[in-house]
Structure formats: C-alpha cells, structure tokens
Amino acid sequence: MKTTTVTRREFIRLTGLGSAALALGYYLPAAGRPAHILKVEAAENLGIELNAFIFIESSGKITIMNHRSEMGQGAFQVVPQMIAEELEVSLDEINIIFAPGSQTKYGSQVTGGSSTVRGAWRHLMRMGATAREMLIEAAARKWKVNADECYAENATVIHRATGRKATYGELATDAAKLEPPKNVKLKNRSEYKIVGKPLPRQDTPLKVNGTAVFGLDKKLPGMLYAAVERNPRFLGKVKSYDDSAARTVPGVKHVFKVQMDVFSHKREGVAVVADTLWAALEGKKALRIEWDDNGFEHYGTDQLFSLMHNSLGQPGLTQKAAGNFDAYFSKASRKLEAVYETPYQAHACLEPLNCIAHFKGNSCEIWGPIQAPDWIQSDIAMKFGLKPENVTVNMTFLGGGFGRKAFTDYTYEAVAISKEINAPVQVVWTREDDLTQGPFRPGAVYECKAGLTQQGRISAFQVKMAAQNLNHQWPGADTESYNDSTTEGLPEPYLNTIPHYRFADIPLASPIPVMWWRSVYSSTNAFAFESFIDELARAAGKDPLEFRKQHLPDERHRLLIDRLMEVSNWKQRGQNSGYGAAVTECFQSIVGEVVKVSRKADGKIKIDKVWAVMDCGWYVNPDIIRAQVEGSIVMALGAALKHATLFNEGKAVQRNYDTYKMPRINEIPDIEVHIMENDERPGGVGEPGLPPLAPALTNALYDLTGKRIRKLPFNLEEF
C-alpha cells in the first residue's frame, strides 16, 4: 500500500493535540531492523510515517496514544504502563487516548494473537526512554551542566548536586529542538517502578459509573439507525421482499437490499433505516422476505461431523513430521487410539456487533468496537475506491472481542448502508443476529494414535485434525494447503522427545464462516492433545504430571510443572477427589492447570477448585495477567460444559442466551492463579490460559469416575 506523510496539521486533526511541544513516534524501517525513534516534524520532512505515541505539551499535559484496542484484556493499561516506566512519569499524570486506525502509522494494530506486549514492548519502552533523555538533555543545557548529572522522576528533571528542578512541561519546547538520541539505555528490571507492578487499570473508574463509551453508546449529530434482516443461511440470497408493512412504521426512512463480504462470499439481507433505533428494529420485524437458498449445501451438525469423522481415513495434509510414525507405531509394545470432538461455537461478546459509518464521497469515517482498525482502513479503502488516508477508523471501548471484532464484515456493511443513504448511520445487530450469522469457532474432530515403549515413553505420536481451515475461506485461497495451526497449543519440547510423530489436517469444505475465537485452534487442539497425553500416562502406569515432565524435560516446563504440583498439593491429593492436569503452550506462553472435582452428598459432581500457573516470561502487570487467566478459565468452562452452536438445514439453531447457555456465578469454582518469575521474552496473556482447562477438567472427572469424556460440550449433571 502507498505510504503517505502525516502532516502536523493532519496529526492535530486526528489527535486533537494542538499544543504538543514534543511529539515522538517510532518508525519501523523493515522487518528485522531496529525501530527509529523520531520527532513528528522530522518525520514530515523525511516523508516517513511514524507510530506516534508520546505528546508533551508546554502546559505539562502528557498524552500517550494507545494503538491497540481495549476489549477487556488491558491494553489500555499496559501500553501506557510500558511507556511511562521509561518516561519516568506516573500513570496518574498522563492522559490516554486511542489512536485512530492507520495501517501506515502504528504498525499492526490488529489486536489478536495475544500480541500487544510481546509484539511491541521494546519499541514502546525505547520511545519512553528517548523522550526522557531528550528532556534531561534540554534541562542540562539550560543549567549548563552535564546531562549525566541529572535524572528524571515524576515528570521532572532534577540536577543531582543542586536539587534544581524543571518540569517536563517547562522543558518540552527546548527538548523538541534536540535530535532524538540513537542509543538509549533501557532500565534493568530491578529498577522498574511501574512495570511488573499490579497497578489499577486506568479504565476501571469509567467502567463502574457508565461513562465508558462502547460502540453502541457513540452518537453522531444527524445519525440514523439501521437494522438488517440477513439471510439465516450462510450463502443465501434475497430473492424478493415486501417492505410495505415496514414502511408504515413511524420513523422508517429507507428499506433496501444490502450485501456484505464474508470471506469470498456475499451475505445478503434487507436493511431498514430509521431515525430511531426502535423504529429500525420494528421495521426489520415487519419485513417479509423471500430467500433464495439454492446452489449450496444446507448442512446440519450431524452431517458436518459425519463428514469430519468419515474423512479421518485419509492421510491428510502434513504440517509437521519427524522419523517414521507408521513403522514405529506398528511395532510399539503398547498402542493407543482415541477420537475427540469439539463443537462449533459463537464468540457471544456481550456487546452485540455494531458500527457507525459516515461515507462522504471521497472520504469515510467509522466508529465502533473494532479489533482491527488498520485492516478495516485498507478493506474499506479498497472496496469503496478511497485513498486509505481518507478512511478514518475510530475505536471505542469494546464490549468483548475474542476474535469476532477482528473481522471486516460488519464495518463494510455499515459503510455500504451509509453510502446508500448519504448520511451517518449506526448499524445495530440484535443478539439473534450476532449469535446466528457467524463467523464461528470451527468444530473439529481429532484422531490420535500413539505407541509406548516398554519403559512407558511415547515412541510414536500422530494427530489428524478434521476441521475447516480458516485460511481456505479467502478469495483465491489454496485449498490444498495444510493447516499451519495443527500443532497450536502443543508444548514444543514434545517435538524433541517424541522420535516419530506426524501432525496433519483434513480440511472440511463447508459454507459455514469460521473465525479466530479466543486462543484459536489451541482452544480445541489442546483438548485432544492433553486428553490423549493423560490416556497415555494412565496406560503407561505413570503419574500424569510426572509423565508430562518426563516428556517436557527443558527447564521452563519442568519448573512450571513443579510449581503446579506444589500449589495444587498434587502429590498429597486424596482418594476422595478427582484431580486432572493439562499443560499447553501458545502465543509464546506456557500455562498449566489442575482441576479438582468431587462428588457431593446429593450425588452431584462439583468442580471444587482450579489452580493455574502462567509462564509468560517478562511481564507488565501481574493483576491483569491474573484477571485474564481467571476469565479464560471461566470462558473455557462455558465452552466445555454449557454451549455449542448447532446447525439445522443450513441455519444456526441457538439464537440467544436462553439456548446458548453461559456459565453463571454460581457455577464458578475457586480459581487460584500463579505467575512464574523469569526473564524469558514476553509471551501472550489474553488467550493462553484458556486451552488447558477443558482437558484438565475431563482428566479430573476420569480420575474420580473412570469415565473418559472425548466430546465437548458435556453435561456435568449426567455423571
């Protein structure tokens, strides 16, 4: 895509920061090369686009721009927390704003893959340090002393010998005249005042009194509202519609057919635009639409899973292999085989999808709960023939995201409707629209086979996954390509200790749209991997956690398992309870979980406790990590026990929370989260806590009852 320069004027327009004296950003020249820290003015002269993050005004106001979306995972807190550490300011002294979406300015803004910290921590901290050094240098020159005689603290530069002080606000104009230093020294971890501390989130006060602005809360002057009745079948079209009743609803202004791209297909529906949301919703209910549902399969859940089960005889597309699985499996002293199944699921964010678009001919502005502002900028620019710099994408707070709000269908649809009516419009999805239209987490079937040596070690291991491949949905995709996420969730050292292995997938072709769902394929793969490892440990007559330790001999995994044993009192676990464990790895973090279950006096099984140990390496905010692991465990409990999206004749069956059941407060066990302390590179936090829960739970139920669960979701009441 063409790169253009952000001028200072444009910058002010985008940010509203008219009086910024010192404005710094970073520039990533090419993959693998270090980032340059530059002043905004210098970048303008060089024609370079910056990732702009720090603004200091002469009034002393400091603003940090957060380029990542906030959907609950804490980016709103941890991005400024990293910058503020090196800048030497406290979080109370700064103002945090969301950056508008721009593919050329902020690097990747797609908030997915648990990547906010692990992707940008060095750039962010170097930028904070660069600004600090410039402010110190400005003070030193003013006082005619050496910069190394001065230090910064609480947004103030201090001359050590005389105690002389100058605030950042007083120094910002002079600092802006200096060249940013090329090499700045970053602090040692022992010197951190902010990073690594459980500081309260800056967005919490806004979220306890109703002032946080989510997508649905945003209003524009003159804005209309739209509700869309979309074909309940995924590839269906609108044959005809009768809008006579809809048009009699007071406030309804327009009714027309609308299309939106869903990967390589078009989803069709009829939009009702009105001057109030209520009128748009009432108008939508009054529509009479005849759908054209010819030309594609109207699958039901049973057929889809039959197709997956029946395909397991095929060799599949190999992602990773070593040695000779077939040969060593056939001569193994002990062989095991098992098939596992996980369902299609909806993201079910509590804030249903919505988006405001204002298409103005040569430009377009968008507001909404958006995980991928830079993708949306380029998607809208390409599809509506606009220059990317004329497409402004504004992020509100997100009422949940989990991958669903990283897709571009709902934003495209809003722009198409705005273009048709030539006015700003907010498109509101009902809960039913949100749960039935997808994209969903793909359902999957796993065939696992393994051989054990006489000493009880895994000699041969094979997993074949039958499931839709997310990548195969895009226009022009190579549908013969293997799924590169077939091993996602598996702790890496298994690939060193198992001599003969093969991981392959058999892609399912289906019209059902599928998308990233918190922890993506790890969320389903891990159920197969860690259930099967447990079955192998039992077959080998080994303690399940000792068996894992034997196959994960590197220090990081060994220490994590030791900690998990220690906190769960694993070795002293009693006979009256069931204990199950699982260890998974994704997005560069390792998580181990132990679940304890027991049978109560009323005969029912209760989940008593979950212990989790997270190793995400270097980290920013331990309280946010604990919150994310707690939340991941609750979401995984729902996914294992409460809900699935079923299909009947090509339509999603579960339309609202009465049938798409959610875990409730009374069903949540005590959860204890521990964090490993080490200096490994930072890993993801928002997702890796989810995958181990389901297998740890079913392994615990096996431990208690001897009954093995190989299909999710399952009903705990039936034990």
């Binding site: 009194n209 109703g210 509590l350 809960r431 609750v634 979401m635 409730r664 407060i665």
Partner: protein
C-alpha cells in the same frame, strides 16, 4: 405514541414514545443515559438492569407504559463520582475487564447489599446468577461484594 412521565435518577422527564417501547431504549435513546446496556433483549443477561422503585428489573423487557410515573435509578444515578461502596469495591478489586455487563452487575450488587448487609456465598449466587459476564469476572464480583459489605459496615460504624 403517548406521553409518559419518568423519574430517572431523581430527575423527571416528560417523553413521548410508543407504548410498547422497552424502557431500555427510552433510557438510552430518548433520555440519553447510555450506561444501561443492551445484551440480549429477552431478560437473560442482566446488562440492562435498572432499579424500578428500588427493585432491580430488566429494562429490556419492561414496556415504557409500565414505567409511567415510576422512579428509576440507573448506573449514572448510583453516584457520579464513584463514591458508592459497591463502585469503590469494584475499583479496589479491579473487577471490570471489558466492562459492558458491569452496570447491571453493580446495580444488582447494590440492591443485594441494601437488603442484606452481610451476604453469604449462597446469597450472592441467588442475587447475581441472572447476570452474564462473558469476560468471566465472577470470582472478582464475589470478592468485591464482600469488600463492599465491609466498606458499608465501616461507614455505618463511623456514623
């Protein structure tokens, strides 16, 4: 369309609306208080909870005609400065993640504590099980309700 009089957060509004229009949309779209959220529209998730004459109700499932001349408190009316003990406890325990459900959770917790200053776990389950949190903040909600109970008792003993 008909005329209605609603007292929201101690302020009286004269509004005109379709009799069937849910109170939720009246509060959000006509009165303009957006702290009350839409989650499901069928009284399953609790995000739209407000106090109607002191009792928590699902505003998505109450037509405006049934709220005429009634007293309504929304999250904005609990306290604007986060001084209510439940809001303080929510901050102390760092409950919210995405935050979308929390207006409803907080109003449910405030009502529980107004009737039961020292709730047990079972009391908390009964009062809160109608509220979905997709982020899974339930363990912290439970902890924060106990913290709020303590804050309220401290406040009472100071008086």
């Amino acid at each position: 369309m008909a005329q209605y009089s609603l007292t929201v957060n101690n302020k009286t509004y004269q509004i005109e609306a379709d009799a069937r229009m849910p109170l939720l949309w009246v509060i959000r779209e006509i009165i303009g208080l957006t702290g009350t959220k839409y989650g499901c529209g069928i009284a399953q998730c609790g995000a739209c909870t407000v106090h109607l004459n002191g009792n928590p109700v699902r505003s998505c499932s109450i037509p405006v005609s049934a709220a005429n001349n009634q007293k309504i408190i929304t999250i904005e009316g609990l306290s604007a400065d986060n001084s209510h003990p439940v809001q303080q406890a929510w901050i102390m325990e760092q409950v919210p993640q995405c935050g979308y459900c929390q207006s409803g959770q907080i109003l449910a917790a405030a009502h529980l504590l107004s009737r039961n200053p020292n709730p047990t776990d079972a009391d908390i389950d009964r009062a809160m099980m109608g509220h979905i949190c997709r982020c899974g903040t339930y363990p912290r909600i439970r902890k924060a309700i106990k913290t709020a109970a303590r804050l309220m008792q401290q406040k009472a003993s100071v008086k």
